[in-house]
């Protein structure tokens, strides 16, 4: 019991001195889904978002790469039925990346407004 003589200080949030309360803004769990047909642009946007989030010291779950969806269309090349049966194979590849953050919505808005790339679709899901 003598050991318990040491002043028991309630566990305090370490780090920022003078920081009084919790973060005034509500933290949400935010999931950013990026999808695109173009891998290069997509990766660029991902990189920018990650660096932006990291700069704001947010809890970040790195870009999770979903499996690429390949949409195939296979058609006969010939407009008529004559000739050797040659087929055209067309495909469209859709790449998807997911980034999870924990932050307030306006911070996310800020981040996403900066990184702008054509052809990349951005979807933000905000949960509590």
């Amino acid at each position: 019991m003598a050991a318990a003589d040491v002043a028991y200080a309630p566990p305090m949030k370490s780090g920022k001195a003078g920081y009084e309360g919790g973060v005034p803004e509500v933290q949400h769990r935010i999931r950013i889904t990026l999808s695109s047909r173009n891998v290069k642009n997509l990766e660029k946007v991902c990189r920018d978002l990650v660096t932006g989030a990291k700069g704001k010291k947010l809890t970040l779950k790195g870009p999770v790469r979903m499996p690429t969806k390949v949409l195939n269309i296979t058609t006969r090349k010939s407009p008529c039925g004559e000739g050797t049966n040659t087929w055209d194979r067309f495909e469209m590849r859709v790449h998807k990346r997911v980034i999870d953050l924990v932050s307030s919505p306006d911070v996310v808005k800020q981040i996403t407004s900066i990184t702008i790339e054509p052809g990349v679709e951005v979807e933000v899901t905000i949960s509590d």
């Binding site: 702008i116 054509p118 951005v122 979807e123 899901t125 905000i126 949960s127 509590d128």
Partner: protein
């Protein structure tokens, strides 16, 4: 887990970045909510929630359905001719680029050449041809040469525009806006019409007339008499005929008696025209011969009176004659339309009225393949001494004169006697030798043909260039049906 009635609690909101409706910049995007959960995130969504089936039309409607169009837009729409129904038609129009203005406006070029002639027309510039003043010594050959020497063919012809014609054409739009009678602007008509109205103008004209022609007073018959030239029989007949034809509609006789209010009768108008041509002045009063005879109008010489009396008498005569005419047969006067000396038909002019531009006799030609059929030199002519034409063969043909048989004919002649000799010999001998002989003969013929072919080919190759040259020349000068190779 406790069974729940429905789905899991959906405590989330999904937003998607869309390009702003109607924005040019595709990077101008806003967050739009795409789901319909109850969860609310204040301050995230930029715009009202849309259906997930977001279309550009919906965005357009939303952005442009903001009340009536602004005033300047409406004015512009109206100017372009579109109806003012609240729809922004300018949305479908596009501003012309500055470069397009230059292309859309037409500036006629100053260095433009007139359009070339159509292919079936030939034009010649004959401006330097001098027409001989006297047409008596017309030597056709010489004139043709002269004309040909001075004319030059033209490639392009400018439409000749007479300055008067051009002026008239320009003025036609503006100056003919009046009544239809403006075409009848001859002086006599004006004068005649003015006789009813203006007194001032009449006086002016009279004074003028008297002033100018005061020195011509001696020639009364031109000035005072309405009949300036001696009336011929034909004139009287014409007048009577005219009266007969148009007498029903002719009101001039009635009006002639009225004072101060008359129109000139049609017959007199012709006379007056002539009168005008000679003197340029018309007196207003219509004078009849009777005026002179009966002394109603003063006349300075007795001639006038006499002539007038004469005319009156003649008129009476003709009238009587005309009345009595039905008893007689009318003379049929045949008028030949063309005089004999002017029409000298020659074969050239009468055969065809087409010009050489359309009619090319030289082109009507059958391709001359038949020329090669007959040999140039008939062997029969050289061979026969007498005038007999020998017929050979089953068909009894004149072998010597047939085409393409010349060579064979000669050869056959040679071969035949030899062959005949051989045949005789062989016939005397065994039968099987004829086979060999036949073979030999056929082989000989084959050989000969082979040689001939070779020789021909050689010759052809030697002279191929010549035919090419000849074809070139023929293509330029001769009719197109000539083919040399």
């Amino acid at each position: 887990m406790a069974g729940r009635g429905g789905r899991k609690p959906r405590n989330f909101a999904t937003f998607r970045l869309f390009p702003r409706a109607g924005a040019a910049d595709p990077n101008d995007r806003v967050f739009v909510r795409v789901d319909h959960n109850d969860y609310n995130v204040p301050g995230f969504a930029d715009e009202d929630s849309f259906d997930s089936n977001f279309t550009a039309d919906a965005a357009d409607l939303h952005s442009s359905a903001s009340g009536p169009l602004p005033e300047h837009v409406r004015r512009e729409i109206l100017e372009l001719g579109f109806p003012d129904d609240g729809y922004n038609y300018l949305f479908h129009l596009r501003e012309l680029r500055p470069a397009a203005d230059a292309a859309s406006s037409f500036v006629p070029s100053s260095t433009a050449r007139p359009e070339p002639l159509p292919l079936d027309v030939k034009a010649y510039d004959a401006s330097r041809v001098r027409v001989a003043p006297s047409a008596d010594d017309l030597d056709e050959g010489k004139t043709m040469c002269k004309v040909a020497a001075k004319t030059a063919p033209l490639r392009r012809v400018q439409r000749a525009v007479d300055p008067d014609v051009a002026r008239l054409l320009d003025e036609s739009d503006f100056s003919h806006a009046g009544s239809e009678d403006e075409g009848l602007e001859e002086d006599f008509v004006i004068m005649a019409n003015q006789a009813e109205g203006d007194d001032e103008v009449e006086e002016e004209d009279e004074e003028l007339g008297n002033g100018i022609f005061s020195d011509v007073e001696e020639e009364e018959e031109f000035e005072d008499e309405p009949k300036p030239r001696v009336r011929r029989l034909l004139d009287e007949q014409f007048d009577l005929l005219a009266l007969e034809e148009y007498g029903d509609s002719d009101d001039d006789d009635d009006r002639g008696g009225r004072d101060g209010d008359y129109e000139l009768p049609r017959e007199a108008i012709d006379e007056l025209k002539l009168f005008r041509d000679q003197n340029g002045c018309v007196d207003e009063d219509y004078r009849t011969p009777a005026d002179f005879v009966r002394g109603k109008l003063e006349s300075t010489t007795a001639d006038e009176v006499d002539e007038s009396a004469n005319v009156m008498r003649k008129c009476a005569e003709y009238a009587e004659r005309y009345l009595n005419e039905p008893a007689e047969e009318k003379e049929i006067v045949l008028v030949s339309e063309s005089s004999d000396e002017s029409e000298v038909w020659d074969c050239e002019t009468i055969v065809s009225t087409y010009s050489n531009l359309d009619n090319h006799p030289g082109k009507i030609e059958t391709p001359g393949n038949c020329r090669k059929r007959f040999p140039r030199v008939f062997p029969g002519e050289t061979a026969t001494t007498n005038d007999l034409i020998k017929l050979h063969g089953k068909e009894k043909l004149p072998v010597d004169y047939l085409p393409q048989r010349k060579r064979n004919g000669e050869k056959e002649k040679k071969v035949k006697p030899a062959e005949a000799l051989n045949a005789e010999k062989v016939k005397k001998e065994a039968h099987k030798e004829t086979k060999e002989e036949k073979k030999a003969r056929k082989a000989a013929v084959k050989e000969e043909k082979r040689e001939a072919r070779k020789a021909k080919k050689e010759l052809k190759g030697l002279y191929k260039s010549e035919t090419q040259k000849a074809q070139k020349v023929a293509a330029v000068t001769g009719p197109s049906s000539i083919r040399l190779m």
